[in-house]
Structures are given as C-alpha cells and as structure tokens.
C-alpha cells in the first residue's frame, strides 16, 4: 500500500505515494502553482480551472486545505497580504513536497490522456 506508507512515513518524501490525488486536492494544488492565495481566491481559481465542474463550497474548501496542510503539501503564510482588507485572511502556498506531488499527478494524468487518445483515435496521438 504505497499511499499509506508515504503518508505516514512522510520523511520519505516520495510523491508517488500520494497518488492518485482526489480531484478536489489536485485542483487546489494546481490553483496554488501560480503563487500564494487565500481561500476565496483558491475557490474562484478552482471554478475557473475546472470550468465550473468542480464547485467547492467553503466547508469543502477549508476541509481540503486543512488536510493538505496536515500532509505537508501546503503551508500557511503569515504577513504576506497585499492590503489591509486581506490582513485578516489566511494565505496558503505550495511546499516543495506539494510541488513535487502536483507535478507527479500531472505526469500521471498526462500519460493516461496519451493512452486514451491513442486508443480512441489511433494515429492522432
């Protein structure tokens, strides 16, 4: 069970152990590849990235963020707000491990898409 091993024995830092990522987790990680964001900005980015197919509410969003922080894929950033209105907000950014996991999941999905295209439309892949 590679997933469990990597998540509990986190010091191994093996991104493959976190795969496949739940769809909401992957969207949040991708949203944060553009830099640190607060919760609402992440939610909006996920809406846009998924073209509305993944619509997270606040409860799902913060549950997901908490889980990703616990796993060491994200970290909270303090004192990085752009304006006084944003000072109250909690900002998040990818950790090094989070970046590697996001990259590994991207590669996995890309391979899968290549196979699907190749099988569905031979000669066009």
């Amino acid at each position: 069970m590679p997933r469990r091993r990597a998540r509990t024995a986190g010091a191994q830092h093996d991104p493959q152990g976190y795969l496949p990522l739940p769809i909401a987790h992957f969207h949040v990680l991708v949203a944060l590849t553009g830099g640190q964001k607060h919760g609402y900005a992440i939610m909006r980015d996920v809406d846009e990235l998924s073209r509305g197919s993944v619509r997270m509410g606040p409860g799902t969003l913060y549950g997901t963020l908490k889980k990703l922080v616990d796993q060491g894929l994200l970290e909270e950033v303090h004192g990085q707000s752009d304006g006084p209105e944003d000072e109250r907000r909690r900002y998040y950014r990818l950790t090094g491990l989070g970046q590697r996991v996001c990259g590994a999941e991207s590669d996995r999905l890309a391979r899968l898409v290549r196979v699907a295209k190749s099988n569905l439309r031979p000669g066009l892949a």
């Binding site: 509990t8 409860g59 913060y62 908490k66 616990d70 060491g72 970290e75 950790t95 491990l97 989070g98």
Partner: protein, 195 residues
C-alpha cells in the same frame, strides 16, 4: 451584519467544534465574498450542496479522531485472538464468538475508510507502534518465562501446555518484532515543508 450572514454563522454549528474554532472566521469571510460576487441566491445554492457534503464528512472525521487509540484497539484484537487460540487449544469451541469479534474489530480498524478518516499524526503513530511492540514483547516474555518455569518444575509437559505456549509465544514474538521495526521506521514528525 446582513441576515444571510447571521443565518450562515448560525449554521456553522453543524460542523464539529474543533473545525469551527479553527475556520469559522474564514468560512464566514468566504461566504461573504460569495454573496458579494455572485448574489445571495447563487451563494446559498452552493452552500446547501457544500453543507450536504462537508458536514457529514467532518463529523465522521471528528468521530474517528475521538475514538479509542489504535493501541487500545489493537491490543483488544490481539487479546481476543489469543483468547480464542487458548480455547481452541483446550479443545473448546465456545471461543468462536471471540474470533468473530476480533475479526470484526480488525476489519473495522484496518478498513480503508477508517484509515482515510484518521488524522495524519506520524509522531503519535510512531509512539503507538512502539507501544504496541512493547505490549506484544511483554506478552512474549511472559510466555517464555512461563515456559522456562514449566520446564524446570515439571518432568513431563502436557500437549496442551506446549500448544498454548507455542500459540501465544510465537505470534506475539513475531508481532512484537514487526511493530518494533515499523515503529522505528516511522518518522518522529511530519516532513518540514520546503517553500
């Protein structure tokens, strides 16, 4: 504060207390942003679906977090299993319910759902495994001590005595070794995030 804000804040009571304490302000802020950008009807449609999904999940997570620790459950499972082996060694079949309970507990404890709902706590996981190893080790040592006592005090050992000692001693010794290795291989804490 607008009416919908007050209603939303009241509804947050549906979430577990720990989650509420940590994220209530963020949840309210996000809801406020949603109402501001999308309008109240659209925001509420999203919120209703969100509650339906996230409230049961967070409640389940809270239940799993508060349940008795893995060590206690694992010890209970092993004790029931050993008790069943004991009744078997004595030729009794009345121990089958013990095995049934041990299996049910084991499957429940080790199920994918249970593991996915348990919080990630490598530090406590390490302690838990080492403690389990210690418990198994003590049982194994006790069995070995009992074995030595029997050899020194009795000329002939009955089949039942031999079987009981083997059935208890060997599995617990192996389990102790496995948990010890697993515990030592578990990191002391979560990896420190690298920015």
């Amino acid at each position: 504060m607008q009416t919908e804000q007050r209603v939303y804040r009241k509804l947050l009571v549906l979430y577990p207390k720990a989650f509420r304490q940590e994220f209530a302000a963020d949840l309210a802020q996000t809801f406020s942003d949603l109402v501001h950008d999308d309008g109240a009807p659209s925001a509420w449609r999203r919120i209703i679906v969100d509650f339906a999904v996230s409230v049961p999940r967070s409640r389940l997570e809270a239940i799993m977090k508060n349940q008795r620790s893995n060590v206690v459950l694992n010890t209970l499972i092993v004790t029931l299993f050993v008790a069943w082996l004991g009744t078997l060694a004595l030729g009794a079949v009345v121990g089958l319910p013990l095995l049934a309970v041990a299996v049910v507990l084991g499957v429940t404890q080790r199920s994918r759902l249970a593991r996915s709902l348990q919080p990630e706590r490598p530090a406590s996981l390490r302690r838990s495994r080492l403690l389990t190893a210690a418990i198994f080790g003590l049982i194994a040592l006790g069995t070995i001590a009992s074995w030595i006592y029997h050899i020194n005090h009795y000329k002939h050992l009955g089949d039942t005595t031999v079987m009981v000692h083997n059935l208890i001693g060997l599995p617990t010794l192996v389990a102790a070794a496995c948990y010890l290795v697993a515990g030592l291989r578990t990191p002391r804490s979560t990896p420190s995030p690298v920015a």
